[in-house]
């Protein structure tokens, strides 16, 4: 157990694993996302109430889903940083934070554009939308705090604390549609019940969620590799890797 744990903490070991996984993540991710989106845009039936504007769901749900998952992953990595001082955990947080920011922005943007024809307004200050906006600010805060502290270890710990405090926002986003009266519709997917939409709608949605997850995996691996190279450039293995690729 400790051996695996130790290995997982080794940047060199991770670098090799990531190189092997990344082509799969990229090909499967782009493939699933494309199938899900084309199916959703052109072949899924139109919604009897919302018409064709509901087709935004095939990117809105994946981005919103992943924005929150990425935050939970980052907060878990933050906990690992605080408790075990594992290098890779902090590398993950740094690599993924900008991706999370973009995903949260996309979820808010697609939600606003979807809201206009459906609710008649771009924005309302209701629980779901506001808590999602707070998530955007949390991502921004994490990036800003990380950049503001020049000492790498200190920055990692400060960011980890901010991440853990911000976790309180995640259940608020999740349950906001059940706890408060909101314009936002309730969750499409739950673990306990079958989706209320027909299969021709939720299967492409599920595919695009999976596709974006895999693409996120690819981005995380790539960006973590970059961060590892930057941090470990004095080590022998990085030197060998860089000079071997000179070709």
């Amino acid at each position: 157990m400790w051996k695996i744990f130790h290995k997982l903490g080794s940047p060199k070991w991770f670098f090799g694993i990531a190189t092997r996984l990344m082509p799969w993540f990229l090909v499967l991710g782009v493939g699933l996302l494309m199938v899900g989106i084309v199916w959703g845009l052109a072949f899924a039936p139109r919604d009897y109430l919302q018409g064709n504007s509901y087709r935004i769901i095939f990117i809105h749900v994946p981005t919103a889903f992943l924005a929150q998952s990425a935050y939970i992953m980052m907060a878990s990595a933050g906990l690992v940083t605080l408790v075990w001082r594992m290098k890779l955990a902090d590398v993950f947080v740094r690599a993924v934070a900008p991706v999370g920011l973009v995903l949260t922005f996309l979820a808010l943007f697609t939600g606003a554009v979807w809201g206009k024809p459906t609710w008649g307004t771009w924005w309302v200050w209701d629980a779901r939308l506001t808590s999602m906006l707070i998530l955007l600010f949390l991502y921004g805060g994490v990036i800003a705090l990380d950049r503001a502290i020049s000492d790498e270890k200190l920055a990692a710990r400060a960011v980890a604390v901010l991440l853990l405090v911000g976790v309180v926002n995640i259940p608020i986003i999740k349950y906001s549609v059940d706890w408060w009266n909101t314009l936002h519709q309730t969750a499409t997917f739950t673990l306990t019940q079958r989706p209320t939409m027909p299969a021709e709608m939720w299967v492409p949605l599920l595919l695009s969620v999976l596709g974006l997850y895999l693409l996120f995996g690819w981005l995380a691996c790539l960006r973590m590799q970059t961060e590892i190279l930057r941090r470990e450039h004095r080590t022998r293995w990085v030197k060998e890797f860089v000079m071997a690729g000179r070709g």
Partner: protein
């Protein structure tokens, strides 16, 4: 196919601008993040290589060294 014609597909029953704006922004931002990430990795590898090559040149004696202990720091201008 849910639509009768290509123009009906583009129009999305009047919701075309909303749907296509979302998908447009989604693809632009997602590809921007992907391209940016690939390029920053290339930039880091290139920067490392330059550092190693200068170090290699210094240690093999191609760069003349003064015997003074004040080591000059090479700052790249680009």
């Amino acid at each position: 196919m849910e639509f009768d014609s290509f123009s009906a597909f583009i129009a999305m029953g009047g919701h075309g601008p909303y749907v296509w704006a979302c998908y447009g922004v989604f693809f632009v931002l997602l590809s921007a993040v992907m391209i940016w990430s690939v390029q920053s990795q290339k930039a880091v590898i290139e920067a490392c290589r330059r550092v190693y090559e200068t170090q290699g040149a210094e240690s093999s004696g191609k760069v003349s060294h003064a015997s003074a202990t004040f080591k000059r720091v090479n700052v790249s201008n680009d």
